[in-house]
Symmetry: C2
Subunit: 260 residues, 2 copies
């Protein structure tokens, strides 16, 4: 474990999580570092899932895939262990979430592969920096009617994050998120939720929506949860993911994957 | 075959190629449409190759992977057949190029998968539009000392395209190519070739280089040939690629994959 003098904020955050001192959401932790969604599945499904991510890159920007059997990252975080370095996991069996542990040391197997997928938390930080409010009252995750491209047993509808913004902020947010092409990029839709069949009545995350405030405009981005939902629907005998908002903090800096 | 009234320039080009009327290079054909490199391998190697492309995305931006056994594209070109729609192929057996046919109808097998990878030809067109000279006297493909990220049996050094530009053009070209993040993006290096170990003495394509003109600056971009070279070095029993500069013309428009 690095000492705090040498360690980066990302390394410190991972080490606090690993030792059990941080078990809450990672939102706001190690600002400026890219956070990732995690999907762990068996190697026999890895080709189809990798292809699903490739075919739906806007929603599922892959940042790293581990070697079969290895829970260690090599490219996006040095010395990280995916069995311990996220604060909370969801364990699915046959498509049902059956457990929500704080580590998965006892669940790791030699035939597992971990996929790390860019999370919208990364550009939320960039939006916050320019004064666009992105808190729980302004951010939702919901299903749409848009079909994703199938790969093997993985398929399903696109899941999006929605933010209600002033027209001025909507324009600014479009420009800023377009600078993160490998992390969902620009919005996929703006305005009338019905056009993409966004299910605002039952958001997957976020508060209940009664009506859209008339001075605000809804803006929609492809969301990494899409890949998790496709894997969930495939009812694999075993799948392990991060718990919502309990992501993996990488060593990548958001500014380094940001285009001018 | 579409009639010329309904057909797009890309469809017309593919149909001329399919019928054997165009067997030359595709450079300059259907300007504005994204051209692709092709790598066809057996399904047993597809996971590792897909992962190699994911791990080296800058050099190997995947635009489509066909279903196992299918030579037809679904996402980037409607009604295209990869057995006939490129003007020339290279057929490798155990890592040796053994044949250079104009179609591969007799070579297709049920266990083959085709990978289509973005080609630098796409942004060459964007550079040409702003007056940057990109002809045979200004463009080289060469090996470097930079290692790519390995995936299974696929590994090797990064291959780059090099262009000699005036300082003014080098800056403009950097800005323009940065707008194509899914097609190699911005340069990976500018200036002294020795820093990346670019082997200018033996360019893979382009004229012999005696010395760098003093008023010009070499600019280097990651090149899709990297994936082909890695697959060649793996000495697979069968691999089929496009012949250099004889690419696949997709229905994607370069402007549509270009960011502001």
């Amino acid at each position: 474990v690095p000492t705090s003098e040498q360690a980066s904020p990302a390394q410190i955050a991972r080490s606090l999580i690993r030792s059990g001192q941080h078990q809450e959401i990672t939102y706001g932790l190690a600002p400026g570092y890219v956070q990732c969604n995690l999907v762990i599945i068996k190697a026999i499904h890895a080709y189809d899932f990798l292809l699903y991510c490739q075919r739906n890159q806007r929603a599922c920007p892959l940042l790293e895939v581990t070697e079969v059997g290895s829970p260690l990252t090599k490219q996006i975080a040095a010395g990280a262990d995916l069995r311990t370095d996220l604060p909370k996991y969801h364990v699915y069996r046959n498509g049902e979430c059956q457990d929500r542990p704080n580590h998965i040391k006892d669940l790791w197997q030699d035939d597992l592969v971990a996929f790390l997928i860019g999370s919208g938390i990364t550009f939320d930080q960039a939006l916050t920096r320019v004064g666009i409010p992105i808190d729980k009252r302004h951010r939702w995750v919901c299903r749409t009617r848009l079909k994703t491209e199938q790969a093997g047993r993985f398929h399903g509808n696109l899941i999006v994050t929605m933010r209600w913004l002033t027209p001025e902020h909507a324009i600014k947010a479009t420009q800023i998120t377009a600078r993160f092409p490998f992390n969902h990029g620009a919005p996929i839709h703006v305005g009338d939720p019905d056009i993409i069949g966004a299910d605002l009545a039952k958001p997957l995350h976020g508060p209940k929506i009664d009506s859209i405030p008339s001075h605000l405009i809804p803006v929609f981005w492809a969301c990494g949860v899409t890949s998790q939902a496709a894997a969930e629907a495939a009812k694999l005998d075993l799948m392990i993911t991060h718990a919502p908002a309990h992501g993996f903090i990488s060593d990548l800096k958001a500014d380094d994957i940001c285009l001018p």
